[in-house]
């Protein structure tokens, strides 16, 4: 009986948590003028018009936006995994002058609000001629700008026994081999966590694509979603909910695939 009560309570809590999302999905199947008329889920006039109209309405082309988002996300993940892991290895396993100071400096960049660097960054990318390209969204990731993920990997690598490095070194391995054959395979949970969070951050990033991508053919999904809600014109909530529902799918899918690694990563690094 205890288990039954407990499960019932958990299911009730789950229902409350999921209600807004289910309502949004339900609203995406209602005609435009019925979107806000009920707190319930069902309509006597269900329709898929919101999906078909929003997918390629006027100048919109959501197939392209999903492809754009996937390009940015994939290259961002690759960049972050590459740059953060080698930087983390250097901080965790190598000795060099000013190591502690440089690590503190790296962590210090996490305290810098994004708004502070916004205009200088924009000027920089503008002078490089990168406005209206994906480069400002991708290239920085290949230079280890996400201090949080470097920190996460450093902490993880520090927890790996140094004896493994020593024995590898006795077998003739240099830093590159130790990094690629010993550390990286063992750091899989941290890599999974980094990949997942980079995916979510990059997929949901709005301000970056808004600032750097003007041509509507280059838009990512979040920028395109905002087009449905202009304060000075008719708001298209039905279409917005339809495309928002679709945009959730990759995040949910990626989470389901990598949740085991994520939970392991969180448990091992002690970040809660």
């Amino acid at each position: 009986v205890g288990a039954l009560v407990r499960h019932t309570l958990i299911l009730c809590a789950l229902a409350i948590l999921l209600y807004p999302i289910i309502w949004m999905v339900a609203a995406s199947f209602r005609p435009a003028n019925e979107v806000f008329t009920t707190l319930g889920f069902f309509t006597p006039h269900p329709t898929t018009d919101n999906y078909t109209q929003a997918w390629s309405a006027g100048q919109l082309n959501f197939s392209r936006y999903f492809v754009n988002s996937f390009i940015v996300v994939t290259l961002s993940i690759a960049g972050n995994l590459f740059a953060c892991s080698i930087t983390a290895y250097a901080f965790a396993r190598m000795e060099f002058p000013f190591k502690k100071f440089l690590f503190a400096l790296l962590l210090g960049t996490m305290l810098l609000p994004y708004a502070v660097t916004l205009v200088p960054q924009y000027i920089l990318f503008s002078r490089l001629g990168w406005i209206n390209t994906f480069l400002p969204l991708i290239v920085p990731r290949w230079f280890g700008v996400d201090a949080f993920f470097i920190f996460l990997m450093v902490q993880f690598m520090r927890s790996l026994p140094r004896e493994l490095d020593d024995s590898a070194r006795m077998d003739g391995c240099g830093h590159f081999r130790i990094f690629s054959r010993i550390i990286m395979p063992l750091a899989l949970p941290a890599i999974g966590t980094t990949a997942l969070f980079t995916f979510v951050n990059s997929w949901n990033d709005f301000l970056g694509p808004l600032l750097y991508l003007s041509d509507s053919n280059l838009w990512t999904v979040p920028v395109a979603l905002n087009v449905f809600l202009d304060a000075t014109g008719p708001a298209q909530y039905g279409e917005l909910f339809a495309m928002a529902t679709l945009s959730l799918a990759p995040i949910v899918g990626f989470f389901l695939v990598s949740q085991r690694l994520l939970i392991e990563g969180i448990a091992t690094t002690g970040i809660k």
Partner: protein, 426 residues
């Protein structure tokens, strides 16, 4: 200095910024505006018409929605990389004049590069800054309308105010209407925190809300009187309760008024059609009737809120920018195609063509008719100071919320508002 980094805008023209450029209309032209999907299609269509008339022009466009538009514009203005043609309103123009981001257009008008022949003088003037110079050419004019759910009024035996009603008449009407409404309905939306309506009220009572140097021109007593009028209605239960106001979406079509449970509310005239659409979805016989705002003790009527295109200081292709602005505002075919998507057209020939058109929806026509009434009756506008949107608007709402939730008295809120806003305006 101002032309330091203008991105990839590489037109052939060599005019220095601010000069009365009369050169060839050709080359790259960056254009930015705010708007959703409908406006993107319409603006894109007008740009195509312009390119057809000037085949050498290569447009590059950008169109974030209203809020995001200004986020992006501010970054571009700070880095001196604004697109050549920038859409602005008279509510924000002072911010961009202050930062020297946009150039005066007077020389371009004088040289004939920008044509204002068919635009009423009072409407052109809405694009002027506090220094009297023209900084953008208005193409679309909006105004705040009072919307009444006339089907709810008829059902409840309430007579809608007659034309020419005053603000005092309006407050008395709301107060008298509440007891006649079905239980749970409200006579008026929570409008006490809407800064634009207050500014309209000050203006209707005969004074400019802002001084020439961009400070608050009205007294604390005036503001106290206004908020007291709304508080009286709120305490009588005639306004939408503050907790419901807080949960309303910002889009007019999502408001309680659009859902049919509020008798009167105020929206931009061009939003009535969307509100009507939601109401029809709930009650097929529901009818929204737009009216001009109540009049005040002064001569000021409904002030116009103008949207139009400006030219950035870092623009290197001024002749093409000027030609585009003039085309967008004056070309008859372009105006008819755009179909008043961002307020009533400033060009009278375009307005007349739209009013005569049989293709326009009834709600848009009634919006344009109200606009025509304002435009024909000595149209006027408010010169907004720099910081209006960021400071005045936000502080007004925040402080009235504090009053309506019982956290502050009206006197305290007025004091806080004045100290917050006067230090940062202008």
């Amino acid at each position: 200095l101002l032309t330091g980094c203008s991105g990839t805008n590489s037109a052939g023209s060599t005019q220095s910024p601010g000069s009365a450029a009369t050169g060839e209309v050709t080359g790259a032209l960056k254009i930015t505006w705010w708007g959703g999907t409908t406006r993107d299609v319409k603006t894109g269509g007008v740009i195509d018409m312009f390119v057809k008339a000037h085949p050498g022009v290569v447009p590059e466009t950008d169109s974030p929605v209203w809020n995001d538009y200004f986020t992006k514009l501010n970054v571009q203005a700070a880095s001196k990389t604004l697109p050549c043609v920038v859409q602005l309103q008279n509510r924000q123009i002072a911010d961009y004049v202050k930062s020297k981001s946009v150039m005066p257009l007077d020389d371009l008008v004088a040289s004939g590069a920008i044509n204002v022949t068919d635009i009423p003088k009072g409407v052109v003037d809405a694009g002027r800054g506090a220094d009297g110079k023209l900084y953008f050419l208005p193409y679309g004019l909006a105004y705040d309308a009072m919307a009444v759910n006339t089907s709810l009024a008829a059902k409840s035996g309430i007579i809608v105010p007659a034309k020419g009603y005053t603000w005092d008449d309006f407050f008395a009407w709301v107060s008298a209407a509440q007891p006649k409404l079905p239980s749970g309905d409200s006579a008026v939306a929570g409008l006490g925190g809407q800064a634009n309506l207050f500014v309209d009220w000050v203006y209707a009572n005969g004074s400019d809300p802002f001084t020439k140097d961009g400070k608050i021109a009205f007294s604390k007593d005036v503001m106290t009187k206004y908020w007291n009028s709304w508080e009286k209605l709120r305490k009588e239960g005639a306004t939408l309760p503050p907790d419901k106001v807080a949960e309303e979406p910002s889009a007019p079509e999502g408001t309680f008024f659009a859902k049919g449970t509020v008798l009167a509310s105020s929206f931009g005239g061009n939003r009535i059609a969307a509100v009507q659409n939601t109401l029809t979805g709930i009650d097929p016989n529901g009818k929204v009737t737009p009216m001009l705002l109540p009049t005040g003790s002064g001569s000021g009527g409904n002030p116009l809120y103008a949207s139009g295109f400006a030219i950035s200081q870092n623009c290197k292709n001024v002749p093409t920018a000027a030609a585009f602005i003039s085309f967008f505002t004056n070309d008859l075919n372009a105006g008819v195609f755009f179909a008043a998507d961002n307020g009533g057209p400033s060009n009278t020939k375009v307005l007349n063509a739209l009013l005569a058109s049989t293709d326009l929806p009834a709600a848009t026509k009634s919006d344009l008719s109200l606009y025509e009434e304002i435009a024909n009756n000595n149209p006027s506008h408010i010169v907004f100071p720099a910081g209006y949107q960021a400071q005045f608007d936000a502080s007004f709402k925040r402080n009235y919320d504090a009053v309506s939730f019982g956290q502050m008295s009206v006197a305290q809120a007025v004091d806080t508002f004045f100290s917050e806003v006067n230090s940062s305006l202008g």
